[in-house]
């Protein structure tokens, strides 16, 4: 296997690791905090919002936005590190 193939594989593995972390957060804020444990979380208040309700109707959306930008930023770093970035 050539040097370039090895670096390709390492790039893809690092990429998959980043994807895994991002998708875990995506799942956590929506399906876990916004649905599965929302009912008990509602006992906690965030200002006038019960917390579970806040995740389902506000917090998950804010997290999604931040998540995409963080992913884009980390990918740009990764692209440069493995020298596969665009001009």
């Amino acid at each position: 296997m050539s040097q370039e193939d090895l670096s390709r594989q390492a790039y893809w593995r690092a990429h998959l690791r980043l994807l895994g972390i991002c998708l875990a957060i995506w799942f956590l804020v929506s399906f876990v905090l916004g649905i599965l444990v929302a009912q008990p979380l509602n006992a906690i208040q965030l200002g006038g919002y019960p917390l579970g309700f806040w995740f389902a109707q506000q917090g998950s959306i804010y997290t999604f936005i931040i998540l995409i930008f963080v992913y884009a930023w980390r990918m740009n770093v990764l692209d440069r590190k493995f020298n596969v970035h665009e001009e």
């Binding site: 390709r8 389902a56 665009e86």
Partner: protein, 589 residues
């Protein structure tokens, strides 16, 4: 100037703007027609994507839907936004790297199969056509309800405008008009929301107002709303109700993967210059979508609060606690004329009782205790919640005109995106890809324009004569996108060894199981009376709502594709190299 003239003027001005943009942004090549010459700035593309994505349903119906569901309405909010995370992480950058014009084109090339491409074209056309009917209908309804002109007149005016900018400008014209439409739409949505938030809570930001105390009191708005809803026999607003946890979970998942698999949204990411722009652009799209989607819960909760407190101004069950039928405010009487709102004094006591009479225990108690004989708001269309909002809050007439223009902008921008997806599938995938591979660029561009014109006429006809199933088909569109396109695209990128046999089998199984499940409960091809099981939680298999079945169809697609792949030959070397190349932003193709 009366309200109708003012509204017509505002809508007319927006139409003039769209046509002006169309003349400025004509398409001269197929690349400009299909993907705006790949020259769109990622932020501009994010804004256009937001307008493309947010339909009449998002603008008019979503807040009302949330108002009546409460907490579980979050399924729609999370589902329709979380899909962008999947799109940004799993599809958009790779498909942009692939660097072609359409979604079926990727499927056809990646799975080295014309059959796969044709299956993708068929599911694209089915889902886009069903989806576009609702948009054309939305244009007509916005005209007839708000501008008080006949439905057909409004629809034809809308069609004429889309015709001009979509046929002339293709993706380029559509993109620039969508940017203008987003601005109009978001302005029209947030201005009434800000006024209502100030009136109720004193906080001008709706997202913060929803978490604030009521003006002049120290009770939180949501706390007070929970208490009132329970007193009227409904479930507490912030608690689970209206659908089960299982269905909330499945619906959220089906909407997320459905959103990520909608071809008219995916192709928007073909218009940016580079892979890194595609990643970032999805984030910008979600910023612009999130602006409306985080306002919607405030609009919904405040609208139901206003409604309940108008009907029950005092303590429930006491004489002064109820609004007299004779004292209804003007906006209620106006909406009664449209038939979307209706009252009936069932116990003939002269005052209105609005409560949950489907809650048997509560209804029995209310009859015994207060002498109520059923909820006296007998029709309450959820779309009123957004459309009547400015009137409920007593806002000036230019705001009402703006809401009309916003609703029409939402419907037109989505319709244009869908029409482009349909016409490019026909001219590029079917005509050039399958039947006439040697067609010249000039003729292909002409074919694209003709396909667009035909699609507009067809969608307009269906908008005027909607099949009886228009409401259910949106669920079908999402179910198909979730069960057929999303898994296939994802496997095409992330599983190098996925082959043509696996992909085709998976797509067909996903498509057919989803169609079968929906038809079982909604009727074969939506003909009423042909449903085989009752469409309610008792009839659903394991309690799964057909609307959320797309998530399960997607799982079937993945499993089938994997099993078939194991027993068939692996894809040729050049295809595996193609997969390698879409995975990195810069590489020799």
């Amino acid at each position: 100037m009366d309200q109708q003239t003012l509204s017509l003027l505002v809508v007319g001005a927006t139409f003039a703007l769209y046509i002006g943009i169309a003349i400025w942004a004509r398409a001269g090549s197929t690349s400009e027609f299909y993907v705006a010459g790949r020259g769109i700035n990622p932020i501009a593309n994010g804004m256009a994507t937001a307008a493309d994505w947010m339909s009449a349903a998002s603008f008019i119906s979503m807040a009302g839907l949330i108002a009546f569901l409460g907490f579980t309405g979050g399924a729609y909010l999370m589902g329709w936004t979380g899909g962008y995370v999947l799109m940004a992480l799993l599809l958009a950058p790779y498909l942009r790297k692939f660097g072609k014009f359409t979604v079926p084109e990727f499927i056809g090339d990646r799975f080295y199969s014309k059959a796969a491409r044709i299956i993708a074209v068929i599911s694209l056309i089915v889902m886009s056509v069903t989806y576009v009917i609702g948009q054309m209908r939305g244009v007509g309804i916005a005209f007839s309800n708000i501008l008080e002109v006949p439905l057909a007149t409004g629809l034809i005016a809308g069609m004429a405008v889309v015709f001009i900018y979509a046929v002339l400008g293709g993706m380029k014209g559509i993109t620039y008009t969508q940017i203008a439409q987003y601005v109009i739409m978001i302005f029209a949505y947030t201005v009434p929301a800000i006024f209502i938030a100030i009136t109720l809570t004193g906080n001008p930001i709706p997202q913060l107002g929803l978490g604030s105390t009521l003006q002049g009191e120290d009770t939180y708005l949501l706390e007070a709303l929970d208490k009132t809803m329970v007193e009227l026999g409904f479930h507490a607003y912030t608690a689970v109700g209206g659908m089960s946890m299982l269905n909330m979970f499945l619906l959220t998942l089906a909407l997320m993967i459905g959103t990520a698999g909608l071809p008219h949204v995916i192709i928007r990411f073909f218009t940016v210059p580079r892979v890194r722009d595609a990643r970032k652009s999805a984030g910008w799209a979600l910023v612009f979508i999130g602006l409306l989607y985080t306002t919607a819960p405030a609009v919904g909760a405040m609208a139901i609060w206003n409604l309940v407190n108008t009907v029950h101004p005092g303590e429930i069950g006491t004489e002064e606690g109820h609004l007299a039928h004779a004292d209804k405010p003007a906006w209620m009487e106006r909406w009664e004329q449209t038939g979307l709102l209706a009252f009936e004094d069932k116990n003939e006591d002269g005052v209105i009782q609005y409560y949950n009479d489907a809650n048997e225990e509560f209804a029995a108690m209310a009859e015994e205790e207060y002498g109520w004989e059923g909820s006296e708001i007998v029709t309450l269309d959820r779309d009123i919640m957004v459309l009547a909002n400015p009137e409920i809050a007593g806002l000036p007439s230019w705001v009402i005109a703006l809401v009309a223009a916003g609703g029409i902008a939402a419907a037109l921008s989505t319709a244009a995106g869908l029409l482009l997806a349909i016409s490019s599938a026909i001219s590029h995938d079917l005509l050039k890809g399958v039947f006439m591979p040697r067609i010249s660029e000039k003729n292909e561009l002409m074919a694209g324009r003709i396909a667009m014109a035909v699609a507009i006429l067809f969608a307009g006809y269906l908008g005027l004569n909607p099949p009886g199933f228009a409401a259910e088909v949106v669920a079908l569109a999402f179910g198909l996108a979730a069960a057929s396109l999303f898994p296939t695209l994802m496997m095409g990128i992330f599983m190098k060894k996925m082959n043509k046999e696996g992909a085709i089998a998976g797509m067909l199984v996903g498509l057919l199981t989803t169609l079968l499940y929906i038809f079982t409960y909604k009727g074969w091809f939506f003909f009423s009376g042909t449903a085989m099981l009752p469409d309610n939680p008792d009839g659903w298999l394991l309690g799964v709502n057909p609307t959320g079945f797309g998530a399960i169809g997607a799982v079937f697609n993945f499993i089938t594709a994997y099993i078939v792949m194991k027993f068939t030959a692996e894809p040729p070397k050049d295809i595996q190299d193609l997969v390698e190349s879409v995975r990195v932003p810069r590489s020799e193709a």
